[in-house]
């Protein structure tokens, strides 16, 4: 069968239309929106409020964190300290048995000012730990969370030395630095952190400082809040309500 020039052009045009349609359909299929794809990092700036007066030292947060993040035994992404402060404020009695994973035994010093201080990574805006990492394996995400790339960390432990709050540890199995991720796998899906979720009194509240509707703005206006070691100028984003001056 002889094919004229007109036939050839007609066949080619049909082929082109078909190919283009198929390619477009494939592209659409490949780009199907994932469930968490509505999360935009630039729209958030995460932090946490810890209300000292509400913490009862039950250790629920430590247990929840440990289970959620498979924290190796003896290491802590979050822990709770109990302060017992006499008039000699320079020498408070501080304890955190096993990071308070099982809570605290009853106090042996009744009548002494006593309170609990939950601790975790401060997700500092000017974090000294990210500054010192020789390869940039630890970094601040655009939504304000300090994270570690486990595939990139050398395990030099300089970041652990640089953290003023003792929040980082050396993971004994992975041979890398490890720390609180503010449950990044949860908060990017619209959930709260495991520790906040487990807290029975609401002493811990995940906050989004970029969200104008977040109650954090009213809280920060109405309460006397403080960060840990403000003299370190790290831009810490864990805000403590009613923090005693003896806390370090």
């Amino acid at each position: 069968m002889e094919m004229t020039r007109r036939d050839l052009l007609s066949q080619c045009s049909k082929l082109l239309v078909l190919t283009a349609t198929a390619a477009r359909a494939l592209e659409q299929a490949g780009n199907a929106p994932a469930p968490g794809d509505t999360y935009h990092m630039a729209d958030h700036w995460w932090g946490m409020i810890i209300d000292i007066d509400k913490c009862i030292g039950c250790g629920n947060c430590v247990r929840a964190c440990s289970q959620e993040n498979q924290v190796p035994a003896g290491y802590f992404r979050t822990w709770v300290e109990r302060y017992q402060v006499t008039e000699d404020r320079d020498h408070p009695l501080v304890e955190s048995p096993d990071g308070a994973i099982n809570g605290f035994p009853p106090t042996t010093r009744p009548g002494v000012k006593s309170f609990f201080v939950p601790k975790l990574c401060n997700h500092c805006a000017d974090s000294p730990c990210t500054q010192v990492c020789p390869v940039g394996a630890t970094f601040i995400s655009p939504d304000g969370v300090v994270l570690i790339d486990p595939e990139y960390c050398l395990g030099c432990r300089y970041c652990i030395q640089a953290c003023p709050y003792g929040c980082r540890y050396y993971h004994p199995e992975k041979d890398i630095a490890d720390k609180c991720t503010l449950c990044y796998h949860r908060i990017t899906k619209g959930l709260t952190t495991a520790c906040c979720e487990a807290c029975p009194t609401g002493a811990r509240q995940l906050v989004d400082l970029k969200n104008p509707k977040d109650p954090v703005h009213a809280f920060l206006r109405d309460h006397k809040v403080q960060v840990l070691k403000p003299q370190m100028a790290t831009g810490a984003k864990i805000f403590y309500n009613d923090l005693d001056g003896s806390v370090r």
């Binding site: 290491y75 000294p128 010192v132 990492c133 390869v135 960390c153 030395q161 640089a162």
Partner: protein, 388 residues
């Protein structure tokens, strides 16, 4: 918890930087100190120390080749360390290590040694036989020209390299001090004096190491020791040690007088857990001891044999003292809690990855390399003196 006194943040109980990290500043210090001694002859024309010139260069090279090993052994993922070259994090002091190291090794030390030894290498390449001939042939890098004009160029370039080498040596060790001095979270480390103290302690230990190696080499070769050289090296050891000690005391006085929030905690640590390593070994045995010995040799005249013994004693004590200083900086800086409310303990393991055994092996290795380098590139220049 065993070994813990008072309150430590739960993740602080375990020390992160071990004995191997003590070795790192110690070894780089010996490199920088040895090189600066070598530059005394080359740049500052201190002719008396000429017999130690080549020895000092080879000492620096032997120790520099070993310097990265303790770090590699310490890393959790040593296979990723090359990333420091490929994707260095510009704000990190540690990220610069690879570049400072490579600069110092290749641009300064290897080049200066090659220029200094080139006539010998060419001579060996022409006179030796067998495999060694080929080794020296390769070391000539294809340049066998020993004409007076080419030797003049060698000398001029060598001078320039040494001049560049002095700030490079300062950079190498000042930078190591900066790695510690810039950690604001740790008041034991965080002081602008740290790089300067590291630098002068490096010079002290490097000069002491070369003095010891020179005397031992001469003894082994049954060659008379050049006492004018030894007296001069000892004099420079004394001067640098006085500066080093003054700086350390200045730091101590400043801390004591300021007495900031960390002072009570650090003071307690020095009087308890660091008493032996800092007060007894570093200050009395390793600093005041050798300083007193060296001061006496500067003030009174002794016989050659006694002077030699006194110099060796002072140098060995200096090496112990500077090692103790590194220990107290690295380990001491991790024994107290950043809450200033407690203290932990460090127990050196023996056959572990970061234990005593690999540390001993790493300290023996530079001497093995030094022996090999001396065999390959003999530093002895008596024949030249005779020829002259």
């Amino acid at each position: 918890m065993s070994g813990v006194e008072g309150f430590m943040y739960p993740n602080e109980v375990e020390l992160q930087w071990s004995l191997l990290i003590v070795l790192y500043p110690y070894i780089t210090g010996l490199v920088a100190g040895a090189f600066i001694l070598a530059s005394l002859e080359r740049v500052f024309k201190v002719e008396a120390v000429k017999p130690t010139y080549r020895l000092a260069l080879l000492t620096a090279l032997a120790f520099l080749l070993v310097a990265p090993l303790p770090l590699q052994l310490h890393l959790g993922h040593p296979e990723r360390s090359f990333e420091m070259y490929l994707t260095p994090h510009r704000s990190s002091a540690m990220a610069m290590f690879g570049f400072v190291y490579l600069w110092y090794l290749t641009v300064v030390l290897l080049l200066e040694i090659w220029l200094e030894y080139r006539p010998d290498i060419v001579r060996f390449a022409q006179t030796r036989t067998g495999v060694t001939r080929w080794i020296y042939k390769a070391l000539t890098l294809g340049s066998e020209n020993l004409s007076p004009s080419s030797l003049r160029i060698d000398d001029r370039v060598g001078y320039v390299v040494t001049v560049i080498g002095i700030p490079s040596a300062f950079l190498l060790h000042g930078y190591v001090g900066f790695i510690f001095g810039s950690v604001k979270a740790n008041p034991w480390w965080s002081t602008p004096l740290m790089p300067v103290v590291f630098l002068f302690s490096a010079m002290t230990s490097g000069i002491a190491a070369v003095l010891v190696l020179y005397v031992i080499s001469m003894k082994l070769r049954k060659t008379p020791i050049d006492m004018r050289c030894l007296d001069t090296v000892a004099k420079y050891l004394f001067y640098t040690f006085v500066i080093d000690f003054s700086l350390e005391m200045l730091d101590l006085v400043q801390r004591t007088y300021e007495a900031d929030e960390s002072f009570r905690s650090l003071d307690f640590m020095v009087h308890t857990r660091l008493w032996l390593s800092q007060v007894v070994i570093q200050i009395f045995l390793g600093t005041l001891g050798p300083l007193a010995v060296l001061a006496v040799t500067q003030l009174r005249t002794f016989s050659e044999t006694l002077r030699r013994r006194l110099y060796i004693t002072a140098s060995l004590l200096t090496l112990v003292g500077i090692f103790a200083m590194r220990w107290n900086v690295v380990i001491g800086g991790q024994l107290f809690s950043k809450s200033f409310l407690g203290y932990t303990t460090y127990k050196v393991q023996f056959a572990a990855r970061e234990g005593l055994l690999p540390a001993i092996a790493l300290m023996i290795l530079p001497f093995v390399l030094f022996y090999a380098l001396v065999k390959l590139l003999p530093p002895w220049q008596e024949h030249k003196a005779t020829e002259a």
